[in-house]
């Protein structure tokens, strides 16, 4: 094995063009492994001679050897080493590090473990955010770093920071576990930001994702899914057809108490629901869902008032209070005011007579803003349907798929059936 100095010299010399980097890569692969890790402590000063942007690949190999060498990171000057890793992740060149993705992922994992050990998750947020963009081959790809990043955002309570990663639509997933964690943590971030419809989408994906056996992440996601469904829609929909068989069969058994909560909610009586929640608060607390359950409880008032708008044109504050089980008409007034402020109801309060008049939604869908909104939705849908068409085409060219459908089609009669051949895309031939 070459000496360290020679290796560093190679790194500095061969980081110019893509061909040079490829040559460097093969040299590094030869030098990699236990011998490099054994010299871990000696590597650190060499890092100072390299630049993270231009010598990214070499830097990555050396850094990864130090980080995974198993020795205590505080030997390298603890906090400073974290700063080195953080600096590298932010500054490295995406092209170079994509040649060694496993090593890059290892470094990210080490950073996350370290900041969690130091109980300072906020330190890892900016570097991991940069790392996600560097290792993704496109914004549609899900990487293991996504889940780690969202976890740190949750622990540090930097929910808004998590949004930057959640706003991309994901189309490519490699490891199922990444997807489950991404959907679960992403759902929790949206819950924290009170964007319940988006949380519902993500949790729905976690619950209906293909799985041959139930996993713990999906079960926890289901519990939150039930609660968020109640807050947004007032009911929990049944499993769609594409849900896995194992989920449809056994998911509810693991979340029995949540199913009972949703039954109690649908009866519409606040006091009953309140009693149920209090009786089972220990269970909810141990699932870390007590806060969310309380939000479900307070959404009951809102839902009951909304139900009233379907029957009455005007109603007195006293009647509202009595119907939704609020203490005083003043409470009812404050509730209605709050709902008007949040846009959840269209009404006017008349204090003189103590009455509330309910109105129709004044939106006429004629304004420029509404047109823009509809327009951008149509564009997104068009792009999505093009994407679906291309995925469908790719799949129907897949040999494994063709074999399966060919087998199922049964034996040939000897005649060509032109209709059958129409669906086979021409590019296969």
């Amino acid at each position: 094995m070459e000496s360290l100095e020679a290796l560093v010299a190679h790194i500095q010399g061969l980081s110019g063009s893509p061909e040079e980097v490829a040559h460097l890569h093969s040299l590094l692969k030869q030098a990699d492994g236990e011998p490099l890790r054994a010299h871990a402590a000696a590597l650190v000063p060499f890092l100072a001679h390299l630049s993270p942007e231009t010598h990214s690949l070499g830097y990555l190999y050396l850094l990864e050897a130090c980080a995974t060498s198993g020795s205590n990171l505080s030997d390298f000057g603890g906090g400073d080493f974290l700063v080195t890793i953080a600096g590298f992740l932010t500054a490295c060149s995406a092209d170079q590090i994509r040649l060694a993705p496993d090593k890059f992922l290892n470094v990210c994992r080490v950073l996350k473990d370290q900041v969690m050990q130091l109980i300072m998750p906020i330190r890892g947020i900016a570097p991991l955010r940069a790392a996600v963009r560097k290792i993704q081959s496109s914004p549609e790809q899900l990487t293991p770093v996504h889940a780690d990043y969202l976890l740190l955002c949750l622990l540090a309570k930097q929910y808004k920071a998590g949004l930057s990663v959640l706003e991309d639509d994901i189309f490519e997933v490699e490891q199922p576990k990444d997807l489950f964690l991404y959907c679960y943590y992403g759902g929790m971030i949206y819950i924290g930001l009170k964007k319940f419809p988006k949380a519902l989408e993500l949790l729905h994906n976690a619950v209906t994702a293909p799985m041959s056996m139930l996993n713990a992440i999906a079960v926890e996601a289901y519990k939150k899914y039930v609660l968020v469904s109640l807050i947004v829609n007032g009911q929990v929909p049944s499993f769609p057809k594409y849900t896995s068989v194992s989920a449809q069969r056994s998911m509810k058994n693991h979340a029995q108490i949540y199913v009972e909560l949703s039954t109690s909610y649908s009866n519409g009586r606040y006091t009953d629901l309140e009693t149920f929640v209090q009786a089972n608060s220990a269970v909810f607390q141990s699932d870390n869902n007590l806060g969310l359950v309380k939000q479900v409880l307070s959404s009951m008032y809102k839902r009951n008032i909304q139900r009233l708008t379907q029957t009455y044109l005007t109603l007195s504050l006293e009647d509202i209070a009595r119907s939704v089980q609020l203490e005083t008409p003043r409470d009812a007034e404050m509730h209605v005011l709050r709902m008007i402020e949040d846009g959840e109801i269209h009404a006017t309060i008349n204090q003189k007579d103590g009455m509330v008049s309910f109105h129709e939604d004044p939106e006429q869908y004629k304004s420029v803003e509404m047109l823009e909104h509809i327009d951008s939705s149509i564009q997104r849908l068009t792009a999505l349907s093009k994407k679906l068409a291309s995925i469908d085409e790719n799949m129907s060219c897949d040999p494994a798929y063709l074999m399966k459908t060919g087998r199922d089609r049964g034996r040939f009669d000897g005649r060509f059936d032109y209709d059958d051949y129409d669906s086979v895309p021409h590019k296969y031939f």
């Binding site: 700063v83 309570k157 709050r338 309060i349 008349n350 204090q351 003189k352």
Partner: protein, 195 residues
Amino acid sequence: MDLSAVQAALSDKSYSALAHLCDELLLQAASKGATTDEWPYSVHLLAHLYINDLNSARFFWKSLPQEVKDTRPELAAVWRIGQCLWNRDYAGVNTAAQGFEWGPDLADFITAFLELQQRIFKLLTSAYSTISVADVAHFMGMSEEDATNYAVQNGWSLDAATRMLTVKKLKAQTNQKLDASKLQRLTECVFHLEH
């Protein structure tokens, strides 16, 4: 730690940009492991309240260590305003804001912040057809006299006998303008549907 950007924003009175700026700087500083003793906590918290981002304000407060909360009375005063906003106790917001000696950094910021009265007035206009003078005064944090004058100036009418104000609704403005690019988009859409 380089806080000059924050100072610049404060002196420019670009308050709405402050929250995002502070958040970013905090993340960058944390990743470099810098200590955050001189961090402008009160400004950061007030910036969140200014853009009405109560969730971020709450989480920011929760993430602060206890000793930071105890040793900074200005920060605690800003948080009291935040609590009132969270509980929608608008009268309380004004009491909390006016009942504290603000340092020079924050004084201008607080005055700008109190302009949220306009927002409350708009809410009252849209939500009520008639409302008592006492309630208006309560929500706006003004005396009954001032509240009545403010309301009458905006077109509300006062019934002195019952101390009730009748609200004048604003006509909703709708813009209806079409331009050529919409036609282009419509064509693309129809083309897509045909194929």
